[in-house]
Symmetry: C2
Subunit: 338 residues, 2 copies
């Protein structure tokens, strides 16, 4: 089969790879309906995160079960399934607490930018949809594999409550879906921080009530002004840089909540500053598996349309252009058809 | 009047100071029933926190209202009152959210190691007890001014729930009262980290079920072992050093809560490490004012006895020995009688 492999800085290639096979009896093989490029794929693509050699890429997936290991009980061949970027057994204490991305047996799922994918711990990881989704629903189902669940976790970790004033730092796909999530949770006011017209537009469509184009201290000052000097109740940090993290913390009222899901790159928090900021801080790799049943229901009933973040669809063979378009911010998120 | 003044490293003196007077119409003057030395007083005493010149010390207080400003409405002369180390108006949005130590008009209360004290924003800051407390109740009432409320906030910020497994880092007065607080909140298991026999004894009296004497990574390993590899649901960080903070974060299960109340000194948190730890983090200066009505009720009915942390009582004139005993860890906490 032909899959995407990262070779070095901005060098992603489509090449012949061995098709995956069942290794553990708990594995399943999925035939991909669609896959995509994640904002986090750009970190190694931009060589801001080291790779040790040619690396098969992709961790977002949905499709039809092609083969299952002998121990798999909860999914079967021919079902349409979706799973998270971390495989989890969904039975350990951390999974029971809703933190499947810290599962005691967690495994990375990688190499999803390909027609076939091996998913470990299939019983714990995969959730079947009510049927085979129609083609126009595939983007929204695919989004649940990571980006939508991550936006949802950002809003959940930021304790978004009905009527709350929410600010979202980051206008990538995760930030935009954080807006959609906050709206679903009943936020009264949603301030999107974005200076990019296309993204502002989608932010408004997803439920943003205000757009702030300033960044850093100026952005914080603008949010302080918009909230009458109080600060936001909940702030979603969806970038992962020092600037975005401090912007999030400083835009939050004392006693408010920061939910952070951007994988931190070079972020250092000063203990004393955090102490006097008086905020709640929670985040990490989104436990997407926890949210899948609910999010599948919402997407299936077309009450949410997270697939809107895919503004570029390419055949898998053109994966290099898919990365390039996101790197250059010409595309919010690229969907790949195997 | 004679009050305590810090001159430099380990040089605290009792000396003649001008008695406080009403400056703002919202002020009150309190005649101290008792005051004490705080663990946080030891930071400047040990010159780990700079002072700019001779500094009147003390911020824990309770006593009888001697004089009120013309705008004060909620307390009157002759009442026995208690307040927090930060004065707050108790009407601003942050106060309404329960974060009085981030009040938009907050002011430090200082110079309490003296017979008389000026308390700003008296209406928002002071809470009257149901009557004049009997002498043996004074230590427990005094403790509510800071140390008990801070231990309570640590447990509250760490989201202690009935049945929870709780670990407490720090066996100072705050840590010990964190144990008492966790017990009040219904914790099922309370692991005290202490290697000091007297403090271990008080920890057990306050409700600790386990004692861990190891520190740092060894302490974390012991907690992991005690919790069958899971980690604690709630960890109270009551010290404020890099080691204690990391000990707290690493001892918490994914999805668990760290409540931190030790004022951080030289603490730096690595964003990536925090991200993958998957913990909730909340802390800061304890909003003691929020808890005062409830804690006064508990202490008044003798359902809690936080005054047990005072294992040394001295006349105010011997304040220097009071600091020395705490600095050398001969005393947990020193009560001073003016």
């Amino acid at each position: 089969m032909r899959g995407a492999v990262l070779y070095g800085p901005r060098d992603v290639r489509i090449e012949e790879r061995a098709a995956p096979t069942i290794i553990e009896p708990t594995d399943a093989i999925i035939r991909m309906a669609a896959t995509c490029v994640c904002g986090s794929d750009l970190w190694p693509y931009r060589s801001l995160q080291a790779i040790t050699g040619p690396t098969p890429m992709g961790h977002e997936y949905c499709g039809i079960v092609e083969e299952i290991g002998s121990a798999v009980r909860s999914v079967k061949n021919g079902q349409f399934v979706i799973g998270s970027f971390f495989a989890s057994d969904n039975t350990c204490p951390h999974c029971h607490a809703g933190y499947q991305t810290s599962c005691q047996r967690k495994e990375h799922v990688t190499g999803a930018q390909a027609p076939l994918l091996r998913v470990p711990l299939a019983d714990g990881t995969l959730v079947a949809t009510p049927g085979i989704p129609p083609d126009d629903l595939i983007p929204s189902i695919l989004a649940l594999s990571d980006v939508m669940g991550t936006g949802w976790f950002a809003a959940d970790a930021a304790n978004v409550k009905p009527g709350a004033t929410v600010a979202v730092v980051g206008d990538g796909a995760v930030g935009l879906l954080g807006i959609l999530s906050a709206k679903q949770m009943g936020a009264g006011r949603i301030i999107a921080m974005s200076r990019h017209p296309t993204r502002q537009q989608l932010a408004l469509e997803f439920g943003a009530t205000d757009i702030v184009t300033e960044r850093g201290d100026a952005g914080v000052a603008r949010i302080t002004e918009l909230t009458k000097g109080i600060g936001a109740d909940s702030v979603l940090e969806c970038v992962g840089t020092q600037e975005s993290m401090m912007q999030a913390i400083h835009a939050t009222r004392p006693g408010g909540y920061v939910g952070y899901v951007g994988v931190p790159h070079g972020v250092e928090l000063d203990g004393r500053e955090l102490f006097f900021a008086h905020v709640h801080l929670h985040g990490g790799p989104a436990p997407v598996r926890q949210y899948l049943p609910k999010l599948i229901e919402l997407a299936w009933e077309r009450r949410i349309n997270p697939g809107r973040v895919f503004d570029l669809t390419l055949p898998l063979d053109q994966v290099a252009e898919g990365y390039r378009a996101m790197d250059e911010r010409r595309a919010i998120k690229t969907l790949l058809r195997p």
